[in-house]
Symmetry: C2
Subunit: 107 residues, 2 copies
């Protein structure tokens, strides 16, 4: 036990859940908010700004990258992380579509 039984759900349900899951951590919310506040891309002031260890921040960034919300470019010896606005908009749309189709027909 302890494993999510993904095989009994369809792809749309699993993908939607995966996306929600990755947004379901305050550090990742904070990272996204901080990156968007800067008018330039972020490297790792995040470690100081947020107050988690460098390894931890790096791990959270990796997860955000895994659903395509962030893209990173090498900039000298640091990394420059950006929100992928196209991907961001697609996800927002999917998510609203879930909300709009699901709330109807309720008692």
């Amino acid at each position: 036990m302890g494993v999510t039984k993904t095989q009994i759900f369809d792809q749309q349900q699993n993908e939607l859940a995966q996306f929600f899951k990755i947004l379901g951590h305050p550090a990742r919310i904070a990272i996204l908010q901080y990156i968007s506040k800067q008018n330039t891309c972020i490297c790792n002031d995040l470690v100081e700004e947020i107050g988690l260890a460098q390894a931890t921040i790096s791990q959270h960034l990796k997860e955000l990258k895994s659903i395509g919300l962030l893209k990173g470019e090498v900039e000298g010896k640091s990394m420059c992380y950006c929100i992928d606005v196209d991907r961001w908009n697609v996800l927002q749309k999917n998510l609203n579509s879930f909300f709009n189709t699901t709330k109807t027909n309720c008692c």
Copy 2:
């Protein structure tokens, strides 16, 4: 370790993350979709419909209730679960507000 350090984030970040987290499981997505598909409220065809044990479904329902997305009423000896549309709309609004304010000002 292993604990999310909620104390270093603000209330808005923690609440948003909590909300996303609860939606971050395919069974809970499937439950919401199934409930909304019925024009009457649901009791526990969910167990047959979804294919998880009764105890497991009950647990997922509890979590959905914890963020106010579902409300349950006793109906005879069974339970009648509904989506709380007001709460649903509030959460959708918060979510869009997060998406809209966060995507701007990116490089």
